[in-house]
């Protein structure tokens, strides 16, 4: 059944493929030896590059009707690119996408949707000003006479869909202010409304509680029983084992393996994802932590997080874990003063920090590497050197005028120390790979000589090699006496790096675990609101 010869799409090749494929299907079907498996969608040796970054290097995948297929891989392995190619957002540079045995090139998301493909994105993309019903049916509203929208039918069908998903959300309310879990449900309702046959779920459970996730699995199974092909992405490996029949593993944009889920145990799966034993990834950390560098007491921002108290000592790495939306990043933003706070105190080096004043925070020795480096951490069009020196222009200026030479010297020193691979300091920072961009962000804050470093998702979307370097760097900083508060959604990262783990659940610290106590199970239990 497997076609071994992946080929670049050229003039008459597709016809060959179709012919071969039809024969094979026919053959197996009449032969009766194997169950006839119909692949609704296949990817053959797909390649895709973005600027200098090779996101996919020869990925093949088959999605069969009635099957939930897992796509596993670390952040930056290329899963999202696969999702975007299936969803018609990107077109492969080489290789082909075959739908119902016919090679296709989608012209855009709408084209893909019209072929029965629905993508449920990790961060739901909704229209906050429009109602739930309008969000579900946008672009395919039920019509009545004169091609007018049948609002009554739209509302009724939305209510039915949401009921069938077990979540009664008012179809008439605007989606602004809905929780991520509810938004996710609306995304699924969208796919159902479109009667999609191929449904891609990109980390749908990242922000869901256990109960909500179980409900989602029920829905996913029902969809598969109805003959849909599902591609399911999750970082929680137990979920993959529970829900999926087969798994495809990607690493650094390349296909590692496709296998029945039952044949890969957890360790084998992790090994194939990471490419080496997990322990090796994280640097050895030793040394006694010093005095408290950052103390947070009773920090509250109404409706966002409540009564958050903890301390981070010099030389210590404290992990802040929790589901997306549990308030981790919001706590960090409030500590740094980007957002205000309603109650509570923040002490840096024993001195209280003024609320809502990032400049004061920087002056007090605080540095924060934000979650989204492209949006918040870097100015992509500016040069590497300009980005690297932005938070401390004072140090490269004299009498209010910047010195190019000093800027260059400071930037050069830090990029060298962090091992940033670059062509020239004057190149726009956008030309760097994700890992190197992250190092520039780290470098620009380290240059302020902070006592406390807050890093939010420090290794999101960067390749494994760069990840190891960033981890080593963080460990090194801690060893130099910097207090590190690390927010991460990657459990292995939290467990591998942190001396202590704080777990947030719905805006509160649900558990504080020492390195010994912090197991994957314990953290997940606390994060999903289970008994610790």
């Amino acid at each position: 059944m497997k076609r071994l010869k992946p080929t670049v799409l050229t003039g008459d090749k597709p016809r060959h493929y179709r012919f071969e494929n039809a024969c094979e299907t026919f053959h197996t079907a009449t032969d009766g030896r194997e169950e006839p498996v119909t692949a609704l969608l296949e990817l053959h040796d797909v390649h895709k590059s973005f600027d200098a970054v090779r996101a996919l290097r020869g990925v093949s995948l088959e999605l069969n009707a009635g099957e939930v297929h897992a796509l596993a891989g670390e952040n930056g392995a290329g899963k999202s690119t696969v999702v975007r190619i299936i969803g018609g957002e990107h077109q492969p540079d080489a290789g082909e996408l075959v739908l119902d045995g016919v090679p296709r090139r989608f012209t855009g998301p709408r084209d893909a949707q019209q072929h029965g493909i629905a993508v449920i994105h990790q961060e739901p993309a909704q229209f906050p000003d429009l109602t739930v019903a309008e969000n579900v049916f946008m672009g395919r509203q039920p019509l009545r006479s004169g091609r007018r929208i049948d609002r009554a039918a739209m509302r009724r069908r939305t209510a039915e869909l949401l009921d069938s998903l077990g979540v009664p959300i008012d179809p008439d309310r605007v989606t602004r202010g809905l929780s991520i879990a509810d938004q996710q449900i609306i995304e699924i309702a969208k796919a159902l409304a479109a009667q999609a046959r191929i449904i891609v779920m990109d980390e749908p459970t990242a922000a869901l509680s256990t109960v909500e996730a179980q409900r989602l699995f029920g829905v996913a199974r029902r969809l598969a029983e109805g003959g849909a092909a599902l591609l399911f992405i999750s970082h929680r490996l137990e979920e993959l084992a529970e829900l999926c029949e087969r798994v495809t593993v990607l690493r650094d944009g390349a296909l590692v393996t496709t296998a029945p889920m039952a044949e890969l145990d957890r360790d084998a799966l992790v090994r194939s994802m990471v490419g080496r034993a997990v322990e090796v990834l994280y640097p050895d950390r030793a040394g006694e932590p010093g005095e408290a560098a950052l103390v947070v007491e009773g920090l509250t921002r109404t409706g966002v997080f409540h009564d958050v108290s903890f301390e981070v000592r010099r030389g210590e790495v404290v992990g802040l874990a929790g589901l997306v939306g549990s308030g981790r990043s919001e706590v960090a933003r409030a500590i740094f003063g980007v957002d205000g706070r309603d109650r509570g105190v923040v002490l840096v080096g024993g001195r209280p920090l003024r609320a809502g004043d990032p400049r004061a925070a920087i002056a007090a020795g605080l540095a924060m590497v934000p979650e989204d480096r492209r949006e918040q951490g870097l100015i992509l069009d500016l040069s590497i050197e300009r980005n690297a020196t932005l938070p401390r222009l004072g140090a490269v200026s004299r009498w209010g005028l910047m010195s190019r030479a000093r800027e260059r010297a400071v930037a050069g020193e830090w990029t060298k120390r962090l091992g940033v691979r670059l062509r020239g300091l004057a190149d726009p920072v956008a030309t760097l790979s994700g890992g190197n961009q992250q190092k520039v962000v780290l470098g620009k804050w380290l240059a302020t000589k902070p006592d406390v470093l807050i890093v939010d998702e420090p290794t999101r979307g960067i390749d494994v090699g760069a990840k190891v370097e960033v981890h080593a760097l963080l460990a090194d900083l801690a060893a130099q006496g910097i207090a590190v508060l690390m927010i991460s959604s990657e459990l292995s990262e939290v467990l591998g790096m942190a001396d202590r783990v704080l777990v947030m659940h719905e805006g509160r610290i649900a558990a504080e675990l020492s390195r010994g106590e912090a197991t994957e199970e314990a953290v997940m239990q606390a994060a999903t609101g289970g008994a610790a």
Partner: protein, 339 residues
């Protein structure tokens, strides 16, 4: 039970904006009427609606664009150009039928809109920059045309009598211009609410990326919105010529700001995604009524612009206050749910 509550809250919020304008309007009218009762006579009301008609027409077109997170600053110039076009047509042939002039103006406006729309939707230049540029380009063409043909001004006696009587006519006491604006308003309001393409304009303004992912042809929709807005502006220019009977190359100068002010006062979110054409038309009516009322209330004429600006600031501050309160309420709701 919460469903009905939130539905009613939403209705109240919508009604709230339009009701607010109506109340402000009533207050201005009553104040002016107390000082001068003729303000609310048949002729007085006739004039109020007439004054608001052309700017209301432009505000409807502008709303289509602002909903999609775009803007058209060139409307004043487009209006000037089409008004001048009507004059030129009559200089060529004074007997040109009214309908031909109207269609020519609408066509010219649509063409200008297509230029703006193509630059925004195809060349991906921000609308603010594109239309600021075409504001000067269209006005420049207008002046160049005037000097090339040596036509500084076109007067009523040079136009067709049919055209002039169309411009100043009325049906059952309602001015023709107002009837046209109301007809356009009805079609636009119905279309935005009941057709897919109308809802898609809101979707584009509410979240452009999500609109693209939902498969909405965003470029085509934005281009269409520019063309429709341009066509309405063109119509506005011809109506201006028919009503005033005097045209030169500077008609409509500065009109873009009044139009945008009317739209914003009318409750259309400047960052797109929400607002109605009815609100925008009411906003236009409120601003022109304030302008008419100020001299009666003893406010010197040179304060008019300042009052327009103040109305704009009040409207935006109110929107902001409502948003902040809404955000706080949503946060509190989630907090309660967590307890």
């Amino acid at each position: 039970m919460t469903a009905t509550a939130s539905r009613e809250a939403r209705k109240a919020a919508f009604a709230g904006r339009e009701l607010g304008i109506v109340i402000a309007l009533a207050a201005v009218v009553v104040a002016a009427a107390v000082v001068r009762p003729s303000f609310v006579s048949g002729q007085g009301l006739h004039d109020l609606f007439l004054n608001a008609s052309i700017i209301g027409l432009l505000a409807i077109g502008q709303t289509l664009l602002v909903i999609t997170r775009n803007i058209d600053l060139s409307v004043g110039s487009v209006m000037g150009l089409t008004a001048f076009l009507s004059g030129q047509i009559f200089l060529q042939n004074q007997g040109t039928p009214v309908i031909v002039v109207l269609l020519a103006g609408i066509g010219m406006g649509a063409l200008c809109g297509a230029v703006n729309g193509a630059l925004v939707a195809v060349a991906k230049v921000p609308a603010l920059v594109v239309t600021l540029g075409t504001l000067y380009v269209f006005r420049g063409i207008d002046y160049a045309w005037a000097s090339a043909t040596d036509v500084q001004q076109v007067n009523a006696y040079q136009m067709s009598p049919d055209f002039l009587s169309f411009g100043s006519g009325a049906v059952l006491g309602v001015p023709n211009l107002t009837l046209i604006t109301l007809a356009v308003l009805a079609v636009a309001a119905y279309g935005l609410h009941n057709y897919r393409s109308g809802r898609e304009l809101y979707a584009i303004g509410s979240n452009p990326d999500a609109a693209r992912l939902a498969g909405i042809p965003t470029g085509r929709r934005v281009l269409s919105a520019f063309v429709i807005s341009g066509a309405l502006t063109g119509l506005g220019g011809v109506l201006h010529a028919a009503y005033f009977g005097t045209i030169n190359a500077s008609v409509g100068t500065g009109e873009e700001l009044s139009v945008v002010a009317a739209v914003v006062v009318g409750g259309v979110a400047i960052f797109g995604g929400s607002g109605t054409v009815v609100g925008a038309a009411l906003g236009a009516l409120l601003l022109t009524t304030v302008t008419s009322a100020l001299p009666i209330l003893g406010v010197p004429a040179f304060w008019q612009r300042a009052v327009d600006g103040a109305a704009l600031l009040v409207a935006i501050s109110l929107d902001r206050a409502v948003m902040v309160r809404l955000a706080a309420r949503l946060r509190a709701e989630r907090a309660v749910r967590r307890e």
